[in-house]
């Protein structure tokens, strides 16, 4: 007997020795059931309140947040880099939204494209969306926003559309399902809440463990 069969038959013998497995299969939870059963923390529902809550929670998680008009995004990135004494070179993927926002600002920002191998100081990504409940960003993997940009550079700047900020994880997961199809996922979905940190030495919280030291979020509002 393979180990697979060994384990599955032991499990079956323990929980459903005489079970009709086709009947049992009908009880399995689907996303619809899970969604209907789930407890979703109550949040204010106006767009403005949701965005304000996202900002508040992201800041609580030690990110910095700025609201920006689309045409100000490049300036806001440049300003942030200046304020932190960082070079104006940024690394991004192929995200079309970012390309549009940054087009024409080549004199302000030195932009290179593609994944990073660890030698870029600043990564700039575009988020799929954000969750107001905890100030969490949803980032998809792929050539538009390579996962390495989320983790290797010391500074991570994330651009997000104000309209993509939802109250709950569930709302964004639904969006993901619409985009990829039921049961399908991007290779990686990073849910990011603040910059990396560790409290492993005497419970002293220090930002910037193995991932970014700084997470700056630019919320684009038209």
């Amino acid at each position: 007997m393979s180990q697979r069969e060994e384990i599955l038959s032991k499990v079956r013998a323990a929980i459903a020795p005489n079970g009709n497995h086709d009947e049992r299969r009908k009880n399995l939870r689907t996303a619809a059931i899970a969604k209907a059963d789930g407890i979703i923390p109550k949040l204010p529902e106006s767009k403005k309140a949701i965005q304000a809550r996202f900002e508040e929670r992201a800041v609580k998680a030690d990110a910095t947040v700025v609201f920006s008009k689309p045409r100000e995004v490049a300036n806001n990135i440049a300003k942030y880099l200046r304020e932190h004494n960082l070079p104006s070179a940024i690394r991004t993927g192929d995200d079309k939204r970012l390309k549009t926002l940054l087009r024409g600002y080549e004199s302000l920002l030195e932009i290179s494209h593609g994944r990073t191998y660890g030698d870029d100081m600043v990564g700039v990504s575009h988020a799929l969306g954000g969750v107001a409940e905890t100030g969490t960003l949803f980032m998809e993997s792929g050539k538009d926003n390579p996962t390495t940009l989320n983790f290797l550079p010391e500074t991570h700047i994330v651009v997000i559309n104000a309209d993509d900020i939802e109250t709950s994880y569930e709302n964004l997961l639904e969006k993901l399902r619409d985009k990829y199809g039921a049961g399908e996922m991007p290779r990686v979905l990073n849910m990011i809440t603040g910059p990396s940190r560790s409290a492993d030495i005497e419970q002293t919280l220090i930002l910037g463990a193995h991932g970014p030291l700084r997470l700056h979020i630019i919320i684009v509002r038209k």
Binding site: I7, I15, L28, I39, K42, D200, Q203, I206, G208, A209
Partner: protein, 478 residues
């Protein structure tokens, strides 16, 4: 196999309580985690409802575990990943070694995983000539020291900064010995720089999983440092090692449980990185592993299903039980003598290594119930510790004297007349011993008690005899 010292629990505990440095370090557990959890709970009105919801989800999963495992496997394969089933720790190590050897791996980076500790993966890798590199800061520190975690989410919580500095100076010999290393921050920066090289050069990355999602074939890790993400993103191969009960049905079910996980653990509303991984690198992916493997470990869990210990399989390893445990606060994690410390370990360890070896653990509890009170998954930890005591009693594993005294006492307690006579005699005897100060400084048959504290003396005669006298008196008055 990780060395098991659980049978020497009492001696371990004695050493731990006499270790001033350890006691100082434990001070952080006694306050920080507790206050932060309380604050997080207070800030979420729905916290208790979410605990109920999370509990119901896991109960449902356990009742349908076979079906969800099949569904999960199917989805992993469909996304291009591989699933390996491991009945025992040795099977899991062997499967992981085979995968590592398939690419001639020399170096393996690792995200924090208690399952890896459980199966003693580092020993297996080292024996095969493959360098395992722990990348979680706490795990890295204890790996340098040749130790094991003393806490399931804060592995180096037993250490202080000076010890970490000494270890870094001792092991990072390529750096000047007189460099300034007197802040947690400088220590972290040094570890970051050293581990960054390791990340970039590793052939294989191994992580655990907080959840396995059946709907999508996704594995989930929940971390703060970002080391797990670098571990799984940079090398050619990503191996996930997870036990079978980590399954949840859907993305939404994961969201429910995630809401109570970090709040119960560190008191964060959400950990920094919740990473959902599904299969290997795709066609136009610029990064990510070329191969994605999941090793599904049983190692005794299927034997807990359908028994009085099934509820333990709801555990999400948040550590709240040990953070709130007065026994853990007194002795720390290493005294428990195996991988899992604290209340959850007191229930789980006997299942995994045998109650003959871990028998002390479920006994070393005051049953104060604080662990169950804070458990986000409503696991009745004291009740299950009692079940272990029942098994020990049935199997005559409890110490002879203890067994005899309980049985003897019960024999008397079942005979009220005899009991009252003996109680009266004891009350009188102990009262005499107490003298005018009403306290006893030393009692040979309660040595454990009087070694550390006085035994307050009884008042002289029992309540029942005084009550009977009063009744007789009242009747006489009538």
């Amino acid at each position: 196999m990780v060395e098991i010292t659980s049978p020497e629990f009492k001696a371990n505990a004695r050493l731990a309580m006499g270790d001033g440095q350890l006691q100082q370090a434990l001070g952080h557990v006694r306050t920080n985690f507790i206050n932060k959890r309380a604050e997080a709970k207070a800030n979420l009105d729905e916290f208790d409802e979410l605990r109920d919801s999370a509990t119901a989800i896991k109960d449902h999963v356990l009742e349908h575990l076979d079906l969800y495992l099949e569904k999960y496997e199917e989805k992993v394969i469909a996304s291009g990943g591989h699933v390996h089933w491991a009945a025992t720790a040795d099977d899991a190590c062997k499967q992981i070694l085979d995968i590592c050897r398939s690419v001639g791996a020399k170096s393996v980076t690792k995200g924090k995983s208690m399952i890896s500790e459980e199966i003693a993966l580092n020993d297996a890798l080292s024996a095969a000539g493959i360098e395992p590199v722990e990348t979680d800061l706490g795990e890295y520190i204890i790996q340098l020291r040749g130790e094991h975690p003393s806490h399931i989410i804060a592995p180096a919580v037993h250490l202080n900064m000076d010890q970490v500095r000494d270890d870094f100076i001792k092991h990072h010999t390529h750096l000047p010995a007189d460099r300034p290393l007197n802040e947690p921050e400088t220590l972290l920066r040094e570890a970051r720089a050293i581990l960054r090289e390791k990340f970039l050069n590793a052939d294989v990355g191994i992580t655990g999983a907080n959840f396995l999602i059946a709907e999508t074939g996704t594995s989930v890790i929940v971390t703060n440092e970002g080391n797990g993400d670098l571990t799984q993103t940079l090398p050619k191969i990503h191996i996930v090692i997870a036990s079978i009960e980590k399954i949840v049905p859907t993305l939404e079910d994961m969201s429910q449980i995630v809401r109570v996980l970090a709040r119960s653990a560190t008191g964060q509303d959400m950990s920094v990185y919740t990473t959902l991984s599904t299969g290997p690198r795709r066609e136009d992916d610029p990064d990510g592993p070329e191969e994605y493997h999941v090793v599904l470990l049983d190692n005794g869990r299927s034997s807990m299903l359908g028994t009085e210990f099934q509820d333990m399989l709801r555990c999400i390893r948040c550590g709240a039980c040990m953070n709130h445990c007065p026994v853990y606060h007194a002795i720390g994690g290493h005294a428990y003598g195996w991988v899992y410390p604290g209340p959850m370990g007191a229930v789980l360890s006997p299942s995994l290594i045998g109650v003959d070896k871990a028998g002390h653990l479920p006994n070393a509890s005051t049953f104060c119930g604080r662990c169950e009170d804070v458990c986000p998954m409503h696991i009745p930890l004291p009740k299950m510790m009692r079940h272990w005591r029942e098994r020990e009693f049935e199997k005559h594993l409890s110490p002879m004297t203890q067994r005899a005294s309980i049985r003897g006492w019960a024999w008397v307690a079942k005979r009220p007349f005899l009991y009252r006579m003996m109680a009266s005699a004891s009350a009188r005897f102990l009262w005499l011993l107490g003298g005018v100060n009403h306290r006893i400084k030393s009692l040979p048959f309660a040595w454990g008690w009087t070694r550390h504290r006085d035994m307050p003396a009884p008042e002289g005669s029992t309540f029942m005899s005084q009550w009977r006298e009063r009744q007789a008196r009242d009747a006489g008055d009538l």
